[in-house]
Symmetry: C2
Subunit: 469 residues, 2 copies
Amino acid sequence: MLNAFTLDTASALGAALPELRLKPAEQRYLEEPRGKWTGLPTYVAAPRTTEDVAAIIRFANTHKFGIQPYGGGTGLVGGQLTTKGPEPLILSLENMNAIRAIHSQENALIAEAGVTLETIHNAAADINRLFPLTYGSKGTAQIGAGLAVNSGGLNVLRYGMARDLCLGIEAVLPNGDILHGLKRLRKDNTGYDLRHLLIGSEGTLGIITAAALKLSPRPAHTATAFLAVNNPTAALDLLARTWDTAGEVISAFEILNSTGFHFLKEKFPDTRQPFETPPDWSVLVEIATPAGTDPQTILETVFAEAYEADLVTDGLIASSGQQADDFWTVRETIPLANRAIGAIASHDISLPLSHLAEFIDTTGKNLAKIAPVRINCFGHLGDGNLHYNVYPPAGKDRKDFAGVAAKISDRVHDNVVERGGSFSAEHGIGRLKTADLARYGDPAKLTAMRTLKNALDPNGILNPGVVIT
Amino acid sequence: MLNAFTLDTASALGAALPELRLKPAEQRYLEEPRGKWTGLPTYVAAPRTTEDVAAIIRFANTHKFGIQPYGGGTGLVGGQLTTKGPEPLILSLENMNAIRAIHSQENALIAEAGVTLETIHNAAADINRLFPLTYGSKGTAQIGAGLAVNSGGLNVLRYGMARDLCLGIEAVLPNGDILHGLKRLRKDNTGYDLRHLLIGSEGTLGIITAAALKLSPRPAHTATAFLAVNNPTAALDLLARTWDTAGEVISAFEILNSTGFHFLKEKFPDTRQPFETPPDWSVLVEIATPAGTDPQTILETVFAEAYEADLVTDGLIASSGQQADDFWTVRETIPLANRAIGAIASHDISLPLSHLAEFIDTTGKNLAKIAPVRINCFGHLGDGNLHYNVYPPAGKDRKDFAGVAAKISDRVHDNVVERGGSFSAEHGIGRLKTADLARYGDPAKLTAMRTLKNALDPNGILNPGVVIT
């Protein structure tokens, strides 16, 4: 059992590392985006160096208190705050915010954990390269935390998850050792891949302090379309056709349903919507090509053929960068509209593509039997990743449906897992889904995870209560 | 300390699992491609099911003998045979050789560990997809072992290493538990990534029995060129230019030096060579594009501009599939010519691209001071991966240089590590490089590796003596 991080511990740590200037945690460290949880009041350390992070971790092992790692605070599964048990020390990476080096010949960049995605995007753009990891919170989300949770976002179809964009990491292990792994190599088979073990461990196996990131060529041309499709099956057919025509240059293939457009109209009426009447289902497609290939032509061909084949009923190909931005604003504002409406239950799921359409159909019917809910099912179709969010009927309060929330989530997750899918596609486990992991996880995997956690962090100091409890 | 796998153990295991039909190991299980080591005589089990693999592992824990995993036997670092210590049981995956399923809509395929790369290439081609993991031994090398060692090869620049092509694995863990992880998902953030921990662990943390593999769109057009360049710096400049022009559609960017062509002429005189007089340095470039883009034009542009800029002095763009195949035959036959000549020391190294040219220059000078050696430095320039092989002067025997072999390797590896490179880029550690790992490895990483190995395999039964000893 861990000890609480008390005023006495704070004094002792402050005496040992005076440059830390420990502070009581402001409110912002104790909140999270969906307002589901409140963190316990405690202290924040925001070290400036990897050595100081290591010193804090060693101190925590001696004094047996928990460490709550903290990045941009944008996580959606409560991995960034401690709601019960002994108070931890919050370890914020915000002051480790330097881009240490840019290696343009190697298409690589070294960023400290606290650098935001947007800052990295800009640094890559400055050398005519692309760092493709992006999502709505890019201005706040930090790369260290993004790697800790293996975040996904809008460009996974083409460029992969956070882990796929990372060549190496520097990290502090639970015993306080500094892992010096900032290699910028494409090939390095020298022992177990601790990088991939720490990435996605949500701060429970180590604190990532810096990363060597892989940059991509910056596409010369981009074309964007919003196409109304008949149903999810048609959307998948369209994806397959686009894939056959455009291959790897599809940057994004998002699916949206009409519920999202209605929410948007209600909560963000000034957002310019692409369709007069929101179609039941639509897709937002982005194709980005190197010089010499015209993505607009590719999209026009795909659109024409799909229209001919009765997959697509209507659509717009952006004729300007402004119109393309407007399309993406729709996509990125829908999650905000969702929050303003207030979900009974949200689900970040993925499915094998061949089961996806049937899942949507069956699950909609299943939930209708539980309650007269509204479903906003949207997301990264190209990755099989749906944000399957469930809302009260119009005019009703979600509080009235609190009693069926667990039943709804269980049904959604049961249906996902039965079809070989994942109950957490990109948001991770955090505190929200520890019970789901225990319920749906492969027993062999759970046993091995526990063995690894106990071996590397025998005192259980790193992000206690997250992932495995 | 482990027990030997004796006739008595064989009888007991045979009685427990009669369908295994254990056999004394034929010679082929006790050899490896470079003839450096001979395996201890012992028995071979070639189970047909994952359950039988699990039963063998559980039995090994009870009787405390070592398991020597065995794939296609093509590894170059001795990971596939046991040369000393108590005799292990050889566990060959050759009978687990089914492609269990092909999911064309999902661009995924499920293969058992014993399926060869070539069989997977063909299965992917049958549905107009590409499985890009390829290297010279593709007809023999098995996917399970390829993942166990995280193999690389010719297409890493574009498609990544073996680990990047794997969506999920089924494996038997050291305690005999079966990890059911054959997910076909692009996104799945549900706990620690055991897949990536096992991949690259060289059979020391688990036996991969099947894998869900990611397929890519099959490029519609391919263009191939052999270009003579002034020196490695020019080759790197050319790579950067090609990257700027062609972006992600560069499939391969190999560097060769004249020594390789001379060896080829000596040992495989019938191989059609691209240049009348082998240039000191040349590159083999392959560009492969989706429909609608002409890779030949891209290569012609790159060639013309590079010629103009004095980077390229001569070159050929293949005008037929046959000529392109001839180019690749040259590249793939050079390693065979190398073996026929017989190296004093071979090195599979990688370097940050910005250090690569200087490394080649400096190391050549360093080695000349040790002995009058010939150097065949070639490899996957796009990945910063060189096969840096050192040979006796013409007419001399490598045996006469046995005394300086270690000195040569130490100098090469010291130079690599000083420049942030890797002393094992794609072949792994095996038995060959355990001392290098101990010498050059990050202490924090080594400690963590040992902790992980002891935690997951407390009896040390899986591939004892490999990676960490």
